[in-house]
Symmetry: C2
Subunit: 318 residues, 2 copies
């Protein structure tokens, strides 16, 4: 039996659906049933029930966005660093393998290859990065799993949210046997406040940048594939291969959904941060070579985006 924590959340829901589709026996555990944030009852439960695998989708994201984490530091730390460590140690003590939904937001920027040499470009502005992508797309590389996070408490400035996610990875690495799955900016065809495509349509102005992003069910499917195939434990970037600029995504939204509104962009990063954001945002390109080399399939990002927009399901307002 597989245990699922946080299965009622946005990414948790995708795991639930995919586990059902695969007809894998699983139990979506609520905190009222088992307070899995507390070590003692968790370890007792694991020892008594001996699940074959545990999946943690629970965490603290901040509503409506990561700015909320700046004023909820304890909850953010507890959700994103303490909870993973609690689960990691309980699973290790009970000798149960598990997977943690982490995040790719612990990086910022991209890696640039020029004359065969790779360098990290952390402070590239979006127009600079976009120009580079348009002129020399082959020069741009994503961060791999061996790159040390560069949007973290150890390498700041960063948002408090990202700091805690990077810390969460740091503290569970080497504890027992675990997968650390990194999604980025989830989206799919179902209109939802957490869906990147829904958010984009609701922003008064759009923040232009470059990112690797994850189709929600592609993400859960790939994570479960890693476990099903008994891929080596460790960190995996789990985004749809490639990357997109916000302008590309907006153009696709306009093409497929033909919204009545026109999209306006913030004139610059400076304007965005001055008016609309309190804490720095992570925008980054991730490398998915490790995931693909493990034999896991993920659709290229544009294919996944177009499929989501072609099958778009507006939220039921009734």
């Amino acid at each position: 039996m597989i245990l699922l924590f946080g299965g009622t959340g946005y990414l948790g829901g995708a795991f639930r659906l995919e586990l059902q589709r695969r007809e894998l026996p699983f139990r979506n555990v609520s905190r009222s049933e088992l307070d899995y944030t507390r070590f003692d009852p968790l370890l007792t439960f694991l020892r008594a029930n001996q699940p074959e695998f545990v999946i943690n989708c629970a965490g603290y994201t901040g509503k409506p966005n990561v700015d909320a984490c700046e004023t909820a530091k304890a909850d953010t730390l507890v959700g994103n660093a303490v909870l993973p460590l609690t689960i990691a140690t309980a699973c290790a003590a009970a000798e149960i393998p598990w997977g943690q939904v982490s995040s790719g937001c612990i990086y910022t920027g991209a890696k640039i290859v020029e004359s065969g040499r790779e360098r990290v470009e952390k402070d590239l502005t979006t127009p600079q990065l976009r120009a580079l992508l348009e002129n020399s797309p082959d020069w741009v590389r994503g961060f791999t799993e061996t790159d040390v996070p560069n949007f973290s408490f150890r390498d700041g400035p960063c948002s408090f949210y990202s700091g805690t996610k990077a810390l969460g990875e740091e503290v569970i690495r080497g504890v027992g046997r675990s997968y650390i799955w990194r999604p980025r900016i989830p989206f799919d065809e179902f209109d939802n406040v957490r869906n990147y495509l829904s958010k984009l349509q609701r922003y008064a102005k759009v923040y232009d940048n470059v990112n690797s992003i994850s189709h929600r069910s592609d993400f859960a499917t790939a994570c479960l594939d890693l476990w099903a195939q008994r891929a080596p434990f460790g960190i995996y970037n789990v985004t749809n291969p490639g990357f997109v600029t916000t302008r590309q995504v907006v153009a696709l939204v306009e093409k497929y959904l033909k919204p009545a509104r026109r999209f306006e962009f913030w004139a610059s990063d400076a304007e965005f941060y001055q008016v609309a954001a309190k804490t720095p945002r992570s925008n980054c390109v991730l490398d998915t070579t490790k995931l693909l080399a493990a034999g896991v399939k993920m659709r290229p990002v544009l294919e996944a985006l177009e499929a989501a927009l072609q099958n778009w399901q507006p939220e039921n307002k009734s």
Copy 2:
């Protein structure tokens, strides 16, 4: 056998001496011998060696003072919240009781009793509190172990150091069986950069405030007494009963050590924070009723202070 982590540190040294004095078999474990910050080797070690008790004095304090923690957030979190949780969970899994050196710096201010009603005075300035102490000393009460920390990420503003110490307590409460010992501002007769009496003498200007404080070996002795007497597990304020103003301490330093220098005080909290400190300092009064009711003896604060100054050992500069 008792295991000691962080036994080479300032408070750790006091535990080492007191364990030796009691002729209790103990092992001062260094991180090179056993990386007790990592759950898997720690649990393996605990299971193999079955210590009867574990003491953790390791933590991250920031050098030369807590301001340094503001720019070392990850290390501060790892040392003060992640490490205690790692030890707590490993000890719980191996069913070994343990004690954590926490800190009273997770409170600020004092409690004031007026007309039989108790209220927390968080933002009392030092002159206000001092006036209160001089005029109505019976009105001032310390924080007890059931008071929720009020200098923490959950009840800020606080220093990052204090936030992580409060979080450390929060995350280990209810995990296995542990003592949480709270010292405050350690001092004793041995001149040392960590000794409050040494610091006071070296400050260019002194910050006037009101605090409960802990004689270093009184502290270690009281902590070990709690364990020796099998007092109930849980939180204990371990300061010398009572409280002192910095002016009182300076007067005693002048009386016993007769320093050539004259002590100057910051004109106000505002001046101190503007010139000498980056992050807010905790100044607080702690209640030691629970410790004393457990049958543990601690000298009153003035007695401990006078004894330290009477036996003052200047640091050997050779």
